[in-house]
Amino acid sequence: MGVFSRMSLIFRSKANKAMDKMEDPRETLDYSYQKQLELLQKVRRGVADVATSRKRIELQIARLKQESDKLHSQAQKALAMSREDLAREALTRRSGLEQQISDLATQHASLQAEEEKLTLAAQRLQAKVEAFRTRKETIKATYTAAQAQTQVTEAVTGISEELGDVGLAVQRAEDRTAELQARAGAVDELLASGALEDVTGTGKDDITAELERMASTNDVELELERMKAQLTPGTSATAAAIEGGDAAGTDAGEASASGEGTQQ
């Protein structure tokens, strides 16, 4: 016997166990229908849970992107102040964040796929359950003990397999989501721990930074070159702006000094 006929037997034995519990076939119908409604609820909850996880990851990605942009502009500022060491540190951290963003994007895609699968499963089950309800009412309306057993057995075993299938889909989605939830928790901790604070602040982990640096040296060098190239034509303008700012400050000082002079 092949693998997949064995698998259908496993499903079948589950269905038969449910059938054996009931004396009156009509009770079996109601019991099965009850189970179907419960499962339908469960699938819908499953869809909602997966959607919640997906949204959480979307928020995390948005926050990490913000941090990444911040580090980028910090690096630009540091470089403008001729602090290449700080710029390098900022870009190194940014490269670590970019890696995390890309990991999260993968998880996001996987959750989205689970969500789609479960949504389809819910729709399929909904249609089956509605059809079952109609069948159930028909059997009950025309109930004769002699034929009922056959009809009931047919309908209930037929849908039991469906329940097993959808139940399995929900379980898979739950497992997958729980796994991703744990990882999302780690990212939340990172975001809350202040590890992403201003690069000019203190308390950085040198080893981690060094490891990240080794992993991302190429990216950082490239980014530095690009920034330098952008910076070169604008250098005189920036200098002028700083000088202009100083000049204005001096003027204001003089104005207020002369203002005081007038009052006296």
Binding site: G2, V3, F4, A15
Partner: protein, 92 residues
């Protein structure tokens, strides 16, 4: 005959296709027994494609058991092993 693809629903397929399907079933079984992931993936994909190509979806108001139950396309070799060995995997 009726074939279920887990996560998709049931398909009605001509009995004359059974020989083909049996060959593919054996290929999957072999892959599982020797733990060959690539062979497993290839055989499962062919099996599912065959059912998609030659099967017709079973209507919602038809309640019938399947002759074969196939795992979803993204199932791993371990998933299928677990489905076959551990009844607890299937929710009652």
């Amino acid at each position: 005959m009726i074939i279920r693809i887990l996560g998709e629903g049931q398909y009605q397929i001509d009995a004359e296709k059974l020989a083909d399907l049996n060959d593919l079933d054996r290929a999957v079984e072999h892959a599982i027994s020797v733990g060959d992931v690539e062979e497993f993936r290839a055989a499962l994909t062919r099996l599912l494609t065959e059912v998609h190509d030659y099967g017709t979806p079973v209507a919602d108001d038809v309640f019938t058991e399947s002759d074969l139950v196939l795992p979803p396309a993204d199932a791993t070799l371990e998933d299928v092993k677990a489905m076959l060995s551990d009844e607890g995997l299937l929710p009652g």
